[in-house]
């Protein structure tokens, strides 16, 4: 693994050309059919989801989707979901459970969107509900942090049996800028904050928050995307096979214990 600073990884994690959720979905899976809407308010384009095949096995895939160009980023709200995004994700996850499909989620967000409409429609409730329901789903869940995993907006779709991070992805309570603005009263100290926050894959593996790191080439995943995707696919296939050996009850209990020991 390359030795670069936490801030360098933040920069890599945010690069516009870095592969996004749909890139991984299209590379790793076949026959992807995107499904839309939360059946309640609307269709949030900052979260994509649907059914696909992993080799032969039908699975449900969900991802926080950023854009690569300005126009797509506007459409995707820069990967910042509104409550209906989380409710769509939850609907698809419940559907996966009904049809006994494993779930794979891709996390890449600067955070849940802090807008007026989001508050009016219950952003907090949407995130809380998603985590609570994920804890009880009786199918294997694998969560992959591919870019920025920031705050509750990331965790909302990251309550799984295995948590994987790409080498240059970051996962944190808040963006380094937000953290610096709260604790150092100066958002320009983001670099310093990033070093102290323990947000890199390596740090989080040591803290036992994540299970696996997928290596990236120098310069980031886009430099050799097919190899990164191939390694990730291999890991997902292997872990789903392992997780399918457990009974439904064991699966849910193991997931409970996984989060139960965090910070204990």
């Amino acid at each position: 693994m390359s030795q670069i600073s936490a801030w360098d990884r933040v920069t890599l994690a945010r690069m516009p050309e870095r592969p996004k959720a749909l890139d991984y979905i299209n590379e790793i899976f076949t026959d992807f059919i995107e499904l839309h809407g939360d059946r309640n308010f609307g269709d949030d384009k900052s979260i994509v989801g649907g059914i696909a095949r992993l080799n032969d096995m039908p699975v449900t895939v969900i991802g926080e989707q950023k854009g690569k160009k300005a126009k797509e980023n506007m459409e995707r709200n820069f990967g910042m979901p509104n409550p209906e995004g989380y409710r769509k994700a939850l609907r698809l996850m419940k559907q996966a459970e009904k049809f006994n499909r494993p779930i794979i989620t891709f996390i890449d967000t600067p955070g849940a969107y802090p807008g007026m409409g989001a508050e009016e429609r219950g952003q907090g409730e949407a995130i809380a509900r998603s985590m609570m329901e994920m804890a009880n789903l009786e199918v294997p869940i694998i969560c992959v942090v591919i870019g920025e995993g920031s705050s509750g907006g990331a965790l909302a779709i990251a309550v799984g049996d295995k948590i994987v991070m790409l080498e240059n992805a970051v996962y944190s309570i808040l963006s380094p800028e937000g953290f610096a603005s709260i604790l150092y009263k100066d958002s320009s100290k983001a670099k310093e904050a990033a070093e102290n926050m323990k947000i890199t894959a390596e740090d989080l593996k040591k803290l036992n928050i994540i299970d696996k790191i997928i290596d990236e080439p120098d310069g980031g995943a886009q430099e050799d995307f097919s190899t990164v995707a191939k390694d990730l696919k291999q890991y997902i296939v292997k872990e789903i096979k392992e997780l399918q050996k457990f009974s439904k009850e064991e699966l849910v209990e193991k997931r409970y214990e996984k989060f139960r020991r965090m910070g204990n």
């Binding site: 409730e125 609570m132 804890a135 309570i173 803290l207 409970y256």
Partner: protein, 282 residues
């Protein structure tokens, strides 16, 4: 009785205006930050720490809240030995905690235990905004989870009074994971068919709103409490305009369908008791 109290307080208030300013300094008086009236502290305390003039619900310590809700002498604390940790070795954090403990005489931002409410047994968790703004780090997450598990084990209803600035920054990702931990514990609690009442008080925001605060079978709130995921300042910076009055207040949440009922503090114990009775199996 309460009306009598208020009348008495009103009298006290009027006389206050003639008192010398020096009385303010000996700490017998407080100024309501909403209506700006000068109030006699003792009378405010007797009035459930609610402004007798405008009804503003002042923030309560966990100790006082427990006194208002639990039958006298029934509260037995659980998880008191779970204390603050510094998982990121964050510079200056433990020093801050130590001095805060000395100043506030409290150990962490939540106090949990079993108690009775008019004779009904419950598990009660009460957050305390005086400690790190009620933020949730590993100790708060662990205490709340333990309270939920105790409630499952003893098959008792669970009540959580929330007040929080959100997840505790100094514990970083470990604080974030407490949201998943407490929500997972509530998933179990829900499966067990047990009652969970969440009570939102001023302010309930961030990671606490986005976890256990929003997951009650029944969600109550005190009047005019700030309740939201993102803080008002962050929203204003995002949308680059000022938020309308009352945005993210209890009444706003009631209107948008996210809480069941607004309950004044003087009625809280009776309301909880009534709800508990409606769910008791006997």
């Amino acid at each position: 009785m309460v009306i009598d109290k208020i009348k008495k307080v009103n009298k006290a208030e009027k006389s206050v205006k003639n008192e010398k300013a020096s009385d303010m300094l000996i700490g017998k008086w407080v100024k309501c930050d909403k209506c700006k009236e000068i109030l006699y502290k003792e009378d405010v305390h007797k009035n459930f720490s609610v402004c007798p003039n405008c009804g503003k619900h002042f923030r309560l310590s966990a100790r006082r809240r427990i006194k208002q809700i639990a039958d006298e002498g029934t509260f037995e604390e659980i998880g008191a030995d779970i204390l603050t940790k510094n998982p990121l070795n964050f510079d200056g954090y433990m020093k801050k905690i130590t001095s805060l403990k000395e100043k506030t005489k409290i150990e962490e931002a939540v106090k949990c235990g079993t108690c009775e409410i008019n004779g009904e047994k419950v598990v009660l968790a009460v957050m305390d905004g005086n400690f790190m703004m009620g933020s949730m780090g590993s100790a708060v997450g662990e205490r709340i989870t333990l309270a939920i598990e105790t409630s499952i084990e003893k098959r008792l209803p669970l009540i959580i009074f929330c007040v929080s600035g959100g997840a505790r920054m100094q514990e970083g990702i470990v604080s974030l994971m407490q949201m998943a931990k407490t929500s997972s514990a509530l998933a179990k609690h829900n499966e067990a068919g047990l009652l969970y009442i969440s009570v939102l008080t001023d302010p309930t925001t961030g990671g606490v709103t986005a976890s256990f605060a929003s997951l009650g079978d029944i969600i109550l709130a005190e009047p005019d409490a700030l309740i939201g995921f993102a803080g008002p300042r962050v929203i204003e910076q995002t949308i680059k305009q000022k938020l309308p009055d009352g945005f993210q207040r209890s009444e706003f949440l009631l209107e948008h369908g996210f809480i069941d009922k607004i309950v004044e503090r003087k009625d809280m114990k009776d309301t909880l008791y009534n709800l508990l009775k409606l769910h008791s199996l006997k």
